[in-house]
Every structure is written in C-alpha cells, then in structure tokens.
C-alpha cells in the first residue's frame, strides 16, 4: 500500500517534470539547442498566475494568462536571442540560452524581490483529499495527472497528425530538405517554442499547486531536473521526455520515502551521470548510426 501511495505521488511530480521536459526535447530536436532558459519561463508563469490571483481575479483567468504569457515570452526570446544565431556555432546558442536564463532570474528579482512568495494553490485547486481503498489521493494529484495525460495526448496528436506537426518532424530531421519542400522553417521553429512554452505554462501551475511558493530561482533546479528527464528519455524524443519525466519523479519520491529526502537532487544528477556513461542516447533517443 505504501508502495502504491508513493508511486502515485511520484507520478504526480513526474508528470510535471514530463511536461517541462517536453519543451527541452522538442526545441533540442528542432534546432539542437539545450534551451536553459526554459526553466525560467516556468518561474515567470508561476508569478503571472500568483499576481493575478492575488489581485482578486478569477484563477481561471490566471491560468490562461499564465500559459499565454509563457508562450509570448518564449517566442520573444526565440526571435530576439536565438534567431539571429541560427547559423552561428551551437556553443554560441547554448551560452546565449544560459545568458537569457540569468537575465530572466535577475529581472524577476529586481521587480519582485528575492523573497519567496506564497502561491495561492487552494484558489486554483481546492484542498480536498479522497481516501480510496486506503490510499490518500488529493484533488491536486488527480487534476495534475489528468491535465498531464490530456496535454500529452494532445501534443502527440498535434505532432503525428497535423500539417504543422509533420512540418516540425520534417524540420527536425533535415532542415534543408524541409526548406526545399516549401516549409517555412522560421515559422515552424517559433511554433515549436510556443508549444513547448504552453506545456511549461501548464507545468508551472501544476508545480506551484504542489509546492506553493514562487521565487526568482524557482525555475533553476526545476528546469535542470526536467533537462535530466529529457536526457534520460533520449533528448529529441517526445515519448522519451514523457517517460523520462515520470521516471525522475518516481525516483525522487522513492528516495524521499526511504528517508533520504536531502539526497533527492543528488540522486537525480547521479542518474544523469549514469545515463551519460552507460546509454547517452537515453531510453528512446535516436541512435547515432546513419544510413548511408
């Protein structure tokens, strides 16, 4: 019973990681950029929701505004910071992403202060806990799992079935060939950032409902863990990011349940090291062999 309880807790946390990891993986898949500013977009999403709810406006408006804000921010970053570097060496892009990350954290600190603020989580999801056959399941857990499943199903449909989704896959496999097909790669790349940011916005709300506080560095560790999840799943792979997120979430909760809660972060990064040593392509990453 304890095992099942912890598994459910782990899946809740893991599905938040999965939503965020998807943004890392999709952007990497399309322009080979590890977008380290992705975590900080979550922080911004958290603040947007917090400020709107604190102003007494409906939480539903806050959720929508937060997701919309994340999308707009991600597209702005892509246009201002990454597009001009499209043909630059990849290391320049990576350093720029780290720079954007520090920029967002410091701007947030300048405007909102460094102290953590309490997130009004019960305004978004009421604090109710159900007892199902001896298991304690909170409404937050149920909503988190349901929203994550629906978001990931919607993403899968988008990528597999729609014209834009197919264009995303084509650009990620061969940008030059995609251009020869008449695909507008700038638009496709911006769209990818927007989709990743929408998932991050949803992830931000769900994360803040579980850990109800926001501070300028909220996105730092969360983003790094989601990055580990993306690598574990095989960076560039969408189902991989989902699996990797769930696995990291469960691993963290299990470590906590065993009484080593101060070790959770260390365990997550140990997983990263082991993956990079043993199977750098992750669960579902593309093999490096190319057909000649």
């Amino acid at each position: 019973m304890i095992v099942l309880q912890q598994l459910i807790n782990g899946l809740q946390l893991g599905s938040v990681y999965a939503l965020i990891a998807l943004g890392y993986s999709m952007v990497y898949g399309i322009i080979l950029l590890l977008n380290f500013a992705h975590g900080d977009i979550i922080m911004v999403g958290g603040y947007i929701a917090l400020l709107i709810i604190s102003a007494g406006i409906s939480p539903l408006v806050a959720v929508v505004a937060s997701v919309a804000g994340c999308i707009v921010l991600a597209c702005l970053i892509e246009k201002a910071a990454y597009t001009p570097l499209r043909s630059a060496p990849r290391i320049s892009l990576l350093i720029t992403a780290i720079g954007v990350s520090y920029f967002l954290e410091n701007v947030a600190q300048l405007i909102l202060g460094a102290d953590p603020r309490v997130f009004p989580n019960t305004a978004v999801i009421p604090s109710v806990t159900y007892n199902v056959g001896g298991l304690n399941i909170s409404l937050t857990t149920i909503v988190t799992l349901a929203v994550a499943v629906v978001s990931m199903a919607a993403l899968t449909l988008l990528v597999q079935k729609t014209k834009m989704g197919k264009a995303m896959r084509a650009v990620s496999e061969d940008m030059g060939a995609a251009q020869m097909m008449g695909i507008n790669i700038n638009r496709t790349i911006t769209f990818t950032f927007a989709v990743g940011a929408a998932l991050a916005g949803i992830g931000a709300i769900l994360y803040c409902c579980r850990y109800p506080q926001v501070k300028p560095t909220t996105g730092y560790l969360l983003g790094l863990k989601a990055f580990v999840a993306a690598v574990l799943g095989g960076i560039g792979s969408i189902p991989g990011a989902m699996l990797g997120g769930l696995a990291i979430g469960v691993a963290e909760v299990v470590v906590t349940a065993l009484g080593y809660s101060t070790w959770t972060d260390a365990v997550v990064f140990a997983i990263l090291i082991v993956v990079l040593l043993v199977k750098p392509t992750g669960f579902m990453g593309a093999s490096m062999n190319e057909k000649v």
Binding site: R169, A170, E173, G176, M180, G182
Partner: protein, 234 residues
C-alpha cells in the same frame, strides 16, 4: 526563358565555389549541367532554390528575380528540387513524405496528387505506411522524385538522381525523367553520369571548377573530343 542564371557568384566562406556562371533553361527543355565532383553543380542548384545566397549575379524565374527570395517562396513559384543524396525524411512514412512535398499546395488537392504519384510509382503505394528509412535505395530515389512532384512544379531540378543506384535502376530513373518531361515538366539535371545525362538532354553545360567551360546541344557535347576524354572515358 523560364530560368535565367546571370553571372552567378557563390562562396562557401572564403571558397569561391561558383565563378560567374550564366546559363538559361527554356520552357519544355531538358538541360543538364555535367562536370566532376566539386565543380559547383550542386551549389548552383542550391542557389536557385534559395538555400544559398549568391554574392553576385542573379537568378530569374519566369522573368522575375528570385535570388534573395526565401526558399519556401521559391517552391510556391513552381520550382522543385530533388536534392543530392535524396534527403527523404527517413523517420516519416512514405505518405507523410509526399504530404511534405505538397506543403505549399492547397490541402484539397493533396489526395489527388498523391494518387497521381502512386500511379507513376506503384511501389510507393504498396509501401505508403512504411517509414521511408526502410525503403531500398532505388525506392528512396522514387520517393524523392514523387515528393518533388507533389508541388506540381513547372521546373524540376534533379541533383545526381543516379548516384549509388544499380545500372538497371539508373535506366529506370532516366525513363521517369523522360516521362516527366513528356508530361510537360521542364527539367534541370545535374549529373556525374555524363553519358546518360547527355543522351536525354536538349542542351548541356560543362562545369569546371566553378566556371562553364563548354556548352551546346546534348549531341554536340556527347560527340565533342574534350568531353569524351574528360567525362565519357575516351
């Protein structure tokens, strides 16, 4: 004049790959560019389709300047590019590859174009649900050509379509090029297989280290002493 390339100069960084090349393609022709590896043939095609920006000179299509236009807009104008090495989307299905070829076409016409391609390449129909990476080399070349046809191009540029194929498949590929031409598509063909290319071309240009060294009808060049020595094995 359908396509007109005027005094084209293209660089890869410091390397001057195409040095003042001029040539024309008239509506309804098969024109071929032949030459050794590294002569600048592929570079010219990539510049026409907008993937590379020329440093000097210009490319006109249907009497409008297209150099400097974004590649996806050039596809919309009616130029399709079958790239060297085929570059199909190996992780996508055969059908999805064809849909990508029709990216600029109105979505209502996609099914019909697909059927037309399947009629021309029945093997692709059999394998429509397979991922393209599982196709044989010959089938992949068919897919690359079928994919280009999906945009209903008026000018089709083919870059080394015979590369890496068994002789019988090379014959097939050239038969298809001939058929497409008869159906009204203008063809610009880049080939190292000079003999095959000259046998179907109306006109041909020989490219040597970024410059055009010879031009004439396909037959003239096939009979020319210097071409025979350099490209046709004596």
């Amino acid at each position: 004049m359908m396509l007109s390339v005027k005094d084209l100069n293209v660089y890869y960084g410091p390397i001057h790959a195409v040095k003042g090349v001029s040539f024309d393609v008239n509506q309804g022709e098969i024109v071929t560019l032949i030459g050794a590896n590294g002569a600048g043939k592929s570079t010219i095609l990539k510049t026409v389709s907008g993937l590379l920006k020329p440093k000097g000179g210009e490319v006109d299509f249907m009497d409008k300047k297209i150099s400097g236009t974004a590649p996806h807009k050039i596809v919309e104008l009616g130029i399709a590019h079958v790239p060297e090495g085929r570059r199909i989307f190996t992780k996508m299905t055969v059908e999805e590859n064809l849909e990508m070829g029709a990216f600029t076409a109105p979505s209502a016409s996609v099914e019909e174009s697909k059927e037309q391609v399947f009629q021309r390449f029945p093997r692709l129909k059999e394998r429509r649900k397979q991922t393209a990476g599982t196709l044989s080399g010959g089938e992949q070349q068919m897919l690359a050509m079928g994919r280009a046809l999906m945009s209903k191009p008026s000018l089709m540029m083919l870059d080394e379509p015979s590369m890496g194929l068994a002789p019988i498949l090379v014959e097939q590929v050239f038969d298809i090029i001939r058929e497409l031409h008869e159906a009204g598509t203008t063809i610009l063909l880049v080939e190292q297989n000079a003999q095959m290319a000259l046998s179907i071309a109306d006109r041909a240009y020989v490219l040597e280290t970024g410059k055009i060294s010879l031009s004439g009808t396909g037959r003239e060049l096939a009979e020319s002493e210097s071409v025979r020595k350099a490209y046709l094995g004596g």
